[in-house]
Amino acid sequence: MIELIEVRKAFNQGKHNEFWALDGINLNIEAHRVTALCGPSGSGKTTLLTLIGCLARPTSGRARFKGEDISGLPERFLTQLRRRSFGFVFQQFNLIRGLSAEENVMLPAAPSGLPQQVVRARAAMLLDRLRLAHRRTARVEWLSGGEQQRVAIARALINDPEVLIADEPTANLDTTLAREFLAILESFAGEGRTVILSSHDPLVIQSAAVHRVINMRDGRIVDDN
């Protein structure tokens, strides 16, 4: 589904602090599976996630999504593709403070032009499924960490994406909540979504919910099983 060929990514290119976060990645990620990128901090897993999720373009090399080359797409198309096909759960959840859970969940759908009632109904359905129906109108900063993450998950799913990308999803959760999150992930794979996450949490890596673990170090893939 997602194919990376000889992908390299540099930051501050041409400056004295030039830094290659990814250095020759070849990777093929299958659809409908849960794939985990694993490695110490600074190993390039987050950068790789940004490339996979069309948040950034590789400095060199090719990226393909469902056979289509996306490394050369202009920003606008990249944004559209990102909105339609990818859902993101960020490490810090990145919810917008001051807005209610429902408003946060509806946000990615705003540029889509879908009727508000449709989006609101969908948001209600997702919150219900994630057992947050009772917190629908609560401001997100009043929610607990676990609830905030579930809001973030609902937000990632509002546009019904094929791919769910999660960056260090369990970093801010205790064991119970982390297990709960993995169960949710498994259900997504079960309904045909592709899940890609980065983590160095053994709980995630050893979990049965994760089908494939890719180990990274210094911007390269060191182990893939």
Binding site: T79, M106, P111
Partner: protein, 378 residues
Amino acid sequence: MNIWIEQQRALIDFTLASLARRKARNLGLLAVYTLLVFVLASVALFSHALRHEATRVLADAPEIVLQRMVAGRHDLIPPGYLEKIGRIRGVQKMEGRLWGYYYDPVIKANYTFMAPSAGGIERGTIVIGAALERVRGLAQETGISFRAYSGKLYSFVVADILPHDSELVSADLVLMHEDDFRAFFAFPAGHYTDIALAVANPQEVRNIAAKLADALPDSRPILREEMLRTYASIFSWREGIVLAILSGAILAFVILAWDKAAGLSAEEKREIGILKAIGWETGDVIRMKIWEGVLISLTAFLVGYVAAYLHVFRAGGVLFEPVLKGWAVLYPRFQLAPEIDGLAVATLFFFTVVPYTAAVLVPIWRAATTDPDAVMRS
């Protein structure tokens, strides 16, 4: 089209939700903004309507008023001047006018005494303006005494009161018989305050004025077009104590609005990053911010303008009264006809909505063009 509308609805929803987070602050800003529009619009509406009213009412003022100067000061027209003018061609009608000022120490106000050339007022009686009626507590058939500059006391009976509707031109008038006027001010017979001339052909007015100045070298002709122009420029936009006082407030508001709109906090920057990461285009972020600017400034404009309209034309501009009144004791009560200068309203609209929206937009442009992956990296 439908999609576009739904998009804008969603963007407006988000804008409102985010404005609601700092409700007190944004409502406060909106209130100050509205107040500013209200004052500016009130000044513009009031001054334009007043200008219009003055030029309409005075449209048939004498074509030329001839004053005589003595030692550089306005003086009485001595006998013989009317005869001299009579020989100038093109002068259709002329009459010596009798008017002057009287200071009433009782209420510390100035009146304009006048003996209408058309007559119609009995000796010993006066016709007074409505403000006088009010301030001195006069009524028809009541008597009043004025002490002349000679020290002698003159008594009059109020024969009539000028229409209340005409206060704007007649508030302080005291009309009396010519003989009374001459006696009161000790005007020698044959002398006049000035001369009003009617000219048959309006094209000729300037020529006649030049001839008058030639024939009567100590005279000064004032043309009607000059009088009307005086009123066309009265309270013009640039003048006006209100605007002068306001300029400080306007400046303060501009700084406040600029600070509020342009000062992009780290929080806002983070939020824009999130929006971009979850699939908003730069254009969506900018559209959302345009809505924010337009909603605030349009609301301020509409509410401020409607309030100003009601204030000026339905409440008689009550808030201006203390300013316009100054130290005057006699102040006319008047309602202005709502003559509205479309261009001024359009200008006000432009200068309320555009700069604010622009101020909202400028920093957003910078933030919105940052990379969407910034969120993940931080």
